[in-house]
Amino acid sequence: MGDSYAVDVQEVSKSFGAFKALNGVTLRVRQGEIYGLLGPNGAGKTTLIRMICGLLEAHGGTVTVLGQRMPNVAVLRHIGYMTQQAALYPALSVEENVDFFAAINGAESGVKEALELVQLYDRRKSVVSTLSGGLRQRCSLACALVHRPELLLLDEPTVGIDPQLRVQFWEYFRRMAAEGTTLIVSSHVMDEADRCQRLGLIQYGRLLAEGSPADIRAQGGSQNLEEAFLALAAATPRRAES
C-alpha cells in the first residue's frame, strides 16, 4: 500500500524530553501532489519534515518514503530538503553552492538547469554573503532541487520573501509537480494554502484536519481558510504533556 504514496506517515509520535512535539500523526501524500503542512509556529511542522527525511527517528509509529521505511540512506538521494533558514555557504558563489549540493547527490549535470529555474543563472558568480534574503532563498531552493528529487520537502520556503517572488516560487512548485515531483510545503501563511492540492492542519503536535482547501473550508464552516483553521483549532484540546 505504501507504493501508491510518496510519503506514508502512520501514527508517528516524537518527544523532546517532556515536550510532545508530535502526537500520533497519520498522513499520506500521493506522488506528484503538492501537500501543504499548515500550522502556527511550534506546531510540529519542522519536526515532521525532519522525520520524513530521516534526520529524526520516531518514538512511535512509522514513516515510509518512496516505499522505504525511514531512516534510510538509500532514499535520501531522491529527497530534496530546503531548510527553514537559507542554509548555504556564505563564502561561496551561487554556482559553487549549487555545484556542491549537486556533487554530494551525484548530479553535477543539473546545475545550469536548477539555476535557470530559480532565475539565478545571471547572478551565478555572486558570492552568497553579498546577496539579499530573497536571492539567498532562491539559491537555497536551487540547492534543494538540483538533483531532481522525487520528493521535495520545503520548510517555510516563502518566509521573508516578497509577494512577487512568492508567486514565482509557487510557479516553480506547480511546474515540478506537473513533472511528477511530490512536494511537501510547510507554511504558516494561509493564503498559500489555497495553492496546495491538499492540506494538513497541524497544531499541538496533532493533525487537526486534512483535505483539499475546499474540504477544510467545509469542515471549519467558513469560506475564509484562516477562519476555518481557527475554528478547527479552537475545537481541539491543548497539547498533552507526556
Binding site: G54, L76, I79, T83, P90, F101, I104
Partner: protein, 366 residues
C-alpha cells in the same frame, strides 16, 4: 552619557553569563587549572639531572671532586666507566658525564684542571645544573690544594646540538610542529561549527553523504591548507631563523603533516561539544594550554613530577614533540624505534579521533 543606559549594558552582560554556566565555569576553573599545573610543574620537579662520573685519576684529588659532586643537590650522580658514557647519553639514562683524567691530581697541582664534560645537549636547560655542580666541586677542590689557585677549564663535548645550540633551537624543533597543530585546530573547530550554525550540516545529513565521508572530506581539505602552512613554517624556521637541524627535512614535514591531521580531527571531534564559536574558543585554555605545558615543549617530561608524567605519556602532543626533536636535534630516522613509536602514537590518535568524530556526528543529530 547616561548612567542608566550604561547600567543596562552591564546588566545585560551579567545576565547572559548567568545563563552560560559553561563560560562562567571556565572563567573561574581554567586559571586555577593552568596556574596549578604550572606551579606543580616548576616546584614539584621530581628528578635532578643524572650525571655519570668516570674517575680515572691516579692521584687523590679526583676522588675528592667525585665526592663533592655526589653530594651536590643540583644533580644525581653515578659512577661509570668512561666508555659506557656515550651509550648512556644516547639511551637517555644520563644527561651528562664527567671524565676526570688519570693525571687530574697533577693537573690540579699545576694550577689548571681540564676534565672532560660530555653533555647530551638536546635540552639546554639541563646543562646548566651540571656545569654549576662541577664549578662548585672545583671551588672546593681549590681549598684542598693549599696555596694555589686552580683554574677550571672543562672540555665540553656535546653528543647532540653543540655549543651554539641555544634555547631557540631546543624550542624551535617543538614549535615548528606546535604552531601548525594549534592554528589548524582553531580553524577546524570554528569552521565545523559554522557548518552547524549556518544550517548546512543539517542539509548534509539529509543528503546521501555518510558521516565518515564528511569527516574524511573535512580532514583532507584542512590537511591541504595545513600542509602548505607546515611547509611555510618549516622554510621560515630553517632558512630565516636558522633553527638547528640535523635531520631529514622530509621526515620533519611528515611529522608536521601527522600533527596537522591530528589537529583537524581533534577540531572536528571537539566542535561537537560546542554550541557557538565563543564556546569553541574556550577549548583553547582547556585543551590546548595543558597540552603545551605537559607535552615536554617547555619542561622536559623526564623532569616533571611523576604524577604528571603519567598524564604527559597519554597526550599525543608529547609524542609529536618528542618525534620532532629526535629528528631535528638527533637526526633520527625511521629505523629508530623511538621515532617509530612517536609516529605510530600520533597516527593512532588520528584514527581514534576520526572514529570518535564520526560517532559523535551521528549522536548529535539523532
Amino acid at each position: 552619557m547616561s548612567g542608566h543606559r550604561i547600567r543596562a549594558i552591564t546588566r545585560r552582560l551579567l545576565q547572559g553569563f548567568r545563563r552560560d554556566r559553561r563560560t562562567l565555569a571556565l572563567l573561574f576553573v581554567a586559571p586555577i587549572v593552568i596556574l596549578g599545573l604550572l606551579g606543580y610543574l616548576m616546584r614539584g620537579s621530581s628528578s635532578s639531572p643524572s650525571v655519570g662520573i668516570a674517575n680515572q685519576d691516579s692521584g687523590p684529588l679526583g676522588a675528592v671532586v667525585a665526592k663533592t659532586l655526589r653530594h651536590s643537590s643540583h644533580i644525581t650522580t653515578s659512577d661509570i666507566n668512561a666508555s659506557d658514557g656515550d651509550p648512556k647519553l644516547r639511551d637517555g639514562s644520563l644527561v651528562a658525564y664527567v671524565v676526570l683524567p688519570s693525571d687530574f691530581s697533577s693537573q690540579a697541582q699545576a694550577g689548571t684542571v681540564a676534565p672532560e664534560v660530555h653533555l647530551e645537549g638536546s635540552q639546554p636547560g639541563e646543562d646548566a645544573p651540571v656545569l654549576q655542580a662541577l664549578q662548585q666541586a672545583m671551588t672546593s677542590l681549590a681549598s684542598q690544594v693549599a696555596g694555589r689557585n686552580v683554574s677550571f677549564q672543562p672540555q665540553v663535548k656535546y653528543l647532540y646540538g653543540g655549543a651554539n645550540y641555544d634555547t631557540l633551537d631546543y624550542f624551535g624543533a617543538a614549535f615548528v610542529g606546535l604552531v601548525v597543530f594549534f592554528l589548524v585546530f582553531v580553524i577546524t573547530i570554528v569552521s565545523f561549527l559554522n557548518e552547524r550554525s549556518q544550517g548546512t550540516l543539517e542539509r548534509l545529513m539529509a543528503s546521501p553523504l555518510r558521516r565518515g565521508e564528511i569527516v574524511l572530506g573535512y580532514m583532507l581539505g584542512f590537511t591541504v591548507i595545513a600542509l602548505v602552512q607546515a611547509a611555510e613554517v618549516l622554510i621560515f624556521s630553517l632558512a630565516i631563523l636558522r633553527i638547528h637541524n640535523q635531520g631529514n627535512v622530509l621526515l620533519i614535514f611528515g611529522m608536521e603533516a601527522l600533527m596537522a591531521i591530528a589537529a583537524v580531527n581533534l577540531g572536528i571531534f571537539l566542535s561537537m561539544f560546542a554550541r557557538s564559536e565563543f564556546q569553541a574558543v574556550q577549548f583553547i585554555p582547556l585543551v590546548v594550554v595543558p597540552q603545551i605545558l605537559l607535552s615536554g615543549i617547555i619542561f622536559p617530561v623526564s623532569t616533571e613530577p611523576s604524577a604528571l608524567q603519567y598524564l604527559s605519556n597519554v597526550l599525543p602532543l608529547t609524542y609529536a614533540v618528542n618525534g620532532m626533536r629526535d629528528i631535528m636535534v638527533k637526526d633520527a630516522d625511521l629505523t629508530w624505534s623511538s621515532l617509530q613509536l612517536d609516529a605510530a602514537v600520533v597516527a593512532g590518535f588520528c584514527v581514534v579521533l576520526i572514529a570518535a568524530g564520526t560517532a559523535t556526528l551521528r549522536r548529535r543529530l539523532a
